[in-house]
Symmetry: C2
Subunit: 374 residues, 2 copies
């Protein structure tokens, strides 16, 4: 990966991001609008756009900000939201999603962005980019608005896989800490393991075991392990990185999003209640906008796939231009920081830190699973 | 149970609620203040108060609303938040929590309320009140503020047990629907099974199996099964009852509470930002209070233990007087509606509805677990 990325950067003099123009709910026009918004403020970004070339070229032509900044890769097929990941893995070769990943695999781009089907994107990414050595399950990490000084916490896995054993959770801790360091600039991240209580005797067996494994590597991997945390700590200030399995993480982020949406709608109702409250809402518009900026999920749009040879950012399927711009910005920032290379190095050096015997059974089982899934 | 409750009501002419005065974070004075607040508006409620009698009698004496309404049961010991449930089950006999449950067991009270240690309360409740015939795992159900017409959805399990197999999830669906009917007055509740996506092929194996089992009984049990739902539907309007295991449910409610708290604190920040925004906040105070009323967790304080011979309401450990009053009100309303008897009847009549063969293995495994835990 390092050689490839360097090659790509040298070739163009720009950071090249590969973008799947298709498969999102809003269509390619919105993706192109998002690219234009991001490119306007970032002179050193170049783009490779994947999808039906004639259609995309027409959309790009209208945007002056994109002149001379976009290469096209014609890909006639689209992965839909209904396609099963296993089907796409077998038959996805002509799709824009496959093509977008190919640019990362070939080293022409430093990262890929897609608004498409999450399961299919993870299946194709794992198939084409492959796992980092030592990683059993890749994970999807997101930023959750929080009370922490950096205003966001990292949470992973949020849905790459519904399962995770103790060894997987250990790897999530390593990958999440690395992401917090490079993506949020938190030098010594606090890592917490999500459970139903903070006492050590609580929760499922694999969590107790993961607690032991993570404790062992924390010092060497330059993060602070704060132990078990609860759901209330996801938007809190006890940990910068929340580690959990993909089932629990997926339910938690959607619960958080749903709760924020429900409160926003109740807030609008409250302000429509009377003439006085309507007047108040006019005066409060600045305050409410500031609130929205702090918790707007579009501004931190993008789940990052961790544990692969290359950076893949999954934008929300229903992202608007602001959301697409945020996802491309995330891929760009991670490329600039050399995140993929740093993460690979971190995983390689900490793989040996776990004492043999502790969690060895899981490690063996994990090894088998890797073979099976690769 | 039916006979006992009827006996208790006849004996006193009042609905009697048994209250554990100890074990909450705020102490017995706050519990007594909550009882006074509730009793003031409800002439036909009587109370049995459990804890150190001399101390409690002094607190009750100062409240005119409680004159002639409170019986005491002296219990010198207290279950602390740090006590392990298994320890309490073995050694808890002298505690106020044990004593509070004993009043329900003996039929002197129609329901019990405690602010104490959740795990210990569930362990003691299961031990002393025992499971309803046909129930393997009891569950804790809460009301979650939502966009549904009744403004709250039922969610269970939120932490009675970290595990649940397909058969348990089926029972949660039956119990949750019954609770929505009696507690929220939703005649034909929409029941959803929490998963990471709404497509039928997604999620863990036990969820796919539970999907089949719940589909089978929905019609006969007078609820509508809407299939898989996601975290965003917990505060939404797709289902009135959200069914999940206790691990996922516990993380989800705490994530929702944490998100609401984070937004509230950001909202306060926004309104402190400038002179204009401070002025706006004065005008907006009515709107913001209306918002708070709609989403204030204190107003729906109380997790209900379902699947036992008797009603037990777990109030939040840090509940203030308003919270305690809400928990007692919940126990009172459920007693008035004859909920415990209706639920027992519902479970008894639907136990036979599931086709033999489908989920039979789970049923057998569940049977063994019941023996072991009883």
């Amino acid at each position: 990966m390092t050689a490839r990325s360097d090659h790509s950067r040298a070739q163009s003099g720009r950071i090249i991001i590969s973008v799947d123009a298709m498969g999102g709910d809003a269509g390619p026009a919105v993706v192109v609008a998002g690219l234009a918004a991001f490119a306007a403020g970032n002179a050193d970004v170049g783009l490779i756009l994947h999808g039906p070339e004639a259609e995309l070229a027409r959309l790009v032509e209208r945007r002056r900000e994109l002149a001379g900044r976009v290469d096209f890769r014609d890909a006639p097929d689209v992965v839909t939201m209904q396609d099963k990941p296993s089907h796409v893995a077998r038959n996805g070769k002509g799709t824009s999603m496959w093509s977008a990943l190919e640019s990362v695999r070939e080293g022409e781009a430093a990262g890929a962005v897609s608004c498409g089907n999450t399961g299919a994107l993870m299946a194709l990414s794992t198939l084409r980019l492959r796992r980092l050595p030592g990683v059993n399950r890749p994970a999807i990490a997101i930023l959750f608005p929080s009370r922490a000084p950096q205003r966001f916490n990292v949470m992973l896995d949020v849905g790459a896989d519904v399962r995770a054993d103790a060894r997987d959770l250990l790897q999530f801790a390593l990958m999440g800490a690395s992401y917090a360091r490079n993506g949020l600039n938190v030098q010594r991240p606090r890592v917490g393991l999500l459970n139903v209580g903070t006492e050590e005797h609580k929760g499922r067996a694999e969590l107790k075991e993961a607690h032991g494994l993570i404790s062992q590597v924390a010092e060497a991997a330059s993060f602070e392990f704060v132990g078990f945390v609860e759901g209330s700590d996801i938007p809190g200030n006890r940990a910068d990185v929340i580690v959990t399995d993909g089932f629990t993480g997926n339910v938690a982020i959607k619960t958080g999003e749903g709760t924020a949406g429900m409160i926003a709608s109740r807030l609008r109702e409250s302000f429509r209640h009377s003439l006085l409250s309507r007047l108040a809402s006019v005066l409060a518009v600045g305050s409410l906008n500031r609130l929205r900026e702090h918790i707007d999920p579009r501004r931190v749009n993008g789940g990052v796939f961790l544990g692969l040879n290359g950076t893949v950012v999954k934008s929300h399927g229903s992202a608007d231009a602001t959301g697409v711009a945020a996802a491309v910005k995330l891929a760009y920032n991670l490329a600039v920081s050399g995140f993929a290379e740093r993460l690979a190095a971190r995983i390689a050096t900490t793989a040996d830190l776990v004492q043999p015997g502790v969690g060895a059974e899981q490690a063996a089982a994990g090894g088998e699973t890797t073979e099976e899934q690769a």
